[in-house]
């Protein structure tokens, strides 16, 4: 294990791997600053570049970007009160701090806690691998089938306000994954005699459609600039005080980083949950909770530490079980397929060096990302004022090139266009897009593992001990979700009356 850890470091420090990481860190920071774009769009755009690359280079390229997306996101949240998902919790105290003239301090605290959180997340990942490894090695097709089912139940967690809409989106994703030749029966399904569809639809083209293309349509409609306020007061003073605050409140930073990492490991719970839970934890454990919401620096440190640490935790179920813990991890799972790797046992046996190189990339990217951000706090914030008319051609060009290069077929562009419209519809009518991605990734896998399990053990695969444990987890997840939804409904009804 120690040897793999050192090998991972050496792989990361190879100049080509390191260069790939360095190229995408600024991209991640910029994407983080642009509200509504985020890491999922970034991953969707970057994955096609990785065709034919060595896995370590490809993952340095992708994780370098993804690790620092949340490092950039607190900047517009603090300066302009324009949060992007997980950074919403940061607004609660970050924006009041900016209004009080402490924008620099808030940004310094946010960036430093993001960096610490990211490194702690990477350490948590490294420490968890030895525990997860024997568990994964005990898994066979029945257990992996049940893991895909556990993953699919998290569609309900990712569904947001409407469970029905989430399940419909997840179901659509699963059906899309069935398009093409079925390896079990040799039947070509849902291809409608189109040769292009015989090999199935490439996940990259769909993901680019439902995320990047949908954002292009949305931006084109809204117009203006991304930030809705004026760029007159972008303050950079007090940054150093904010960095010091992170270390003065080191217990809170560390606690929230660990909590974030654990939440990141739970598939489907997502980044927003991590930041809000940690914000709540900070308020709960504070001696003077009345300061929160009025510009308390701890209210910035807690969610930001959790935001970055959850990425390390999120990689564990993705790499070890092939179960993505979030929408972004579902897209990253697509990258495994593009690169030619199978998440699961192989990753923790044959490719353990690569897994540890991911840990190192996460740690390095977070440190470098924070240093870059601290240097460019002021100009980075101004990106939000670039007009949409200048941003749309850039996103469109890279998205469509990415889609086309998936298989060099014009059909890919048509698929991206269709899914762009579907993705925009989903965005407008509040159909969650995460479950759809989860369905696409896990649909075909679950079917293959089911047929394999039935061929190997018959229906008795359901009574294997580990399978029974996973069935219990699946049922517990479903019951918990139903209970939580009912509780939330009761609370909202009570609040209304």
């Amino acid at each position: 294990m120690v040897e793999a850890l050192i090998n991972g470091l050496l792989i990361t420090l190879q100049w080509k791997t390191f260069l790939m990481m360095m190229i995408t860190i600024p991209i991640g920071l910029i994407l983080g600053i642009l509200p509504g774009v985020g890491g999922k769009v970034g991953l969707a755009i970057l994955i096609p570049f990785c065709f034919g690359w060595k896995p370590e280079m490809a993952f340095a390229f992708l994780l370098g970007m993804h690790a620092v997306v949340h490092t950039g996101s607190p900047i517009p949240a603090i300066l302009f009160n324009t949060p992007d998902g997980p950074a919403a919790a940061t607004c609660l105290d970050g924006y009041p701090m900016a209004q009080k003239g402490e924008a620099g301090r808030a940004m310094g605290a946010a960036l430093a806690s993001s960096g610490v959180g990211g490194v702690v997340g990477a350490v948590c990942m490294a420490l968890t691998i030895p525990v997860v490894r024997p568990l994964v090695l005990a898994f066979g097709p029945p257990e992996f089938f049940m893991m895909t089912i556990v993953g699919l139940t998290f569609i309900s967690v990712m569904s947001g306000d409407s469970l029905i809409k989430g399940l419909m989106a997840g179901g659509m994703g699963m059906v899309i994954s069935f398009v093409g030749m079925d390896p079990q029966t040799g039947v070509v399904r849902f291809a409608f005699n189109q040769l292009y569809l015989f090999d199935g639809i490439n996940i990259v083209t769909i993901v680019i459609g439902i995320f990047a293309m949908a954002e292009v349509i949305d931006m084109g409609i809204k117009g203006g600039s991304i930030a809705h306020t004026q760029a007159e007061d972008v303050k950079g003073a007090g940054v150093w005080q904010g960095i010091k605050d992170t270390f003065i409140h080191w217990k809170l930073t560390l606690r929230c980083s660990v909590i974030g990492s654990i939440i990141g490991m739970i598939p489907g719970l997502g980044g927003e949950a991590a930041s809000w839970i940690c914000y709540g934890h900070a308020v709960q454990t504070a001696k003077d909770p009345q300061r929160y919401g009025k510009g308390a620096v701890e209210g910035v440190i807690a969610p930001e530490a959790a935001n970055n640490s959850k990425e390390g935790g999120g990689l564990i179920p993705t790499v070890a079980f092939g179960v993505p813990s979030s929408g972004a991890m579902a897209i990253l799972l697509g990258a495994f397929i593009v690169i030619g790797l199978v998440p699961g046992q192989e990753m923790l046996t044959k490719h353990l060096d690569l897994v540890f190189s991911m840990v190192w990339v996460l740690a390095f990217a977070n440190i470098i990302g924070v240093l870059i951000s601290l240097t460019f706090v002021k100009p980075l914030a101004k990106i939000t004022f670039i007009r949409i008319s200048a941003i749309v051609p850039f996103i469109l060009a890279f998205a469509l090139l990415g889609s086309f290069l998936a298989t060099n077929n014009f059909g890919d562009l048509i698929v991206t266009f269709i899914f762009g419209l579907v993705g925009y519809g989903m965005k407008v009518f509040k159909y969650p897009r995460g479950p759809m991605t989860l369905g696409i990734v896990l649909g075909k896998l679950s079917e293959n593992y089911l047929h394999l399990s039935l061929n190997l053990y018959g229906i008795y695969f359901l009574v294997r001990p580990l399978t029974l444990v996973l069935i219990a987890i699946t049922l517990a997840t479903v019951v918990y979700q139903i209970h939580r939804k009912r509780k939330m409904e009761k609370q909202s009804e009570g609040g209304l009356v």
Partner: protein, 176 residues
């Protein structure tokens, strides 16, 4: 009956799952098993969602049937609030229809241009036309177009050595 855009989008799901079920019926038992296991409940949920979408609209009329259906008046008020909010959003959405079709037309222009002239001509051409149509000045427009073209040329053609699709027109003139 006039359908709201929300209901139309749900109808798209119903249509999708119906097509999947009809298509799956033509395969052998093993090949159709999982698609049907997924599509049939999803179709049922789509129909439920469609009913919910339609009901939200009716609530505004505050019919006796609705009162009886919901049981309590509080629930009714809640629904009315949702319906009113949805109506407001609906009005906003109808205002968005024109810009939506505009951006879709721009996208279609991009596609047709790529098909005819390839990526390396379409990208700067689209950037110039799009930015100018949005009232940008010539200098930033040309800077963006040149910067984008250069980035793509250096990243894909020079560094990655990928031959980008050159378009039908150049293929015909090139004699391929």
């Amino acid at each position: 009956m006039k359908l709201r855009s929300q209901s139309l989008f749900t109808l798209f799901y119903i249509f999708f799952f119906v097509i999947v079920i009809i298509g799956a019926m033509g395969y052998n038992a093993k090949a159709r098993l999982i698609p049907l296991v997924v599509a049939i409940p999803c179709l049922a949920m789509s129909i439920i969602q469609f009913t919910l979408d339609s009901r939200k609209k009716k609530v505004k009329g505050r019919s006796i049937e609705d009162d009886l259906f919901h049981g309590v008046m509080e629930k009714m008020i809640h629904q009315e609030v949702i319906a009113t909010e949805d109506e407001k959003k609906g009005k906003k959405r109808s205002g968005k229809a024109k810009p939506f079709f505009k951006i879709v037309l721009w996208l279609l222009f991009f596609y047709v241009s790529v098909f005819l002239f390839g990526f390396l001509i379409t990208i700067p051409l689209f950037t110039i036309l799009f930015m100018r149509s949005k009232g940008e000045r010539w200098l930033p427009t040309f800077s963006c177009a040149a910067g984008l073209w250069l980035t793509i040329y250096l990243a894909f053609v020079v560094a990655a050595r990928i031959s980008l699709y050159e378009g039908l027109v150049f293929r015909l003139f090139g004699g391929e």
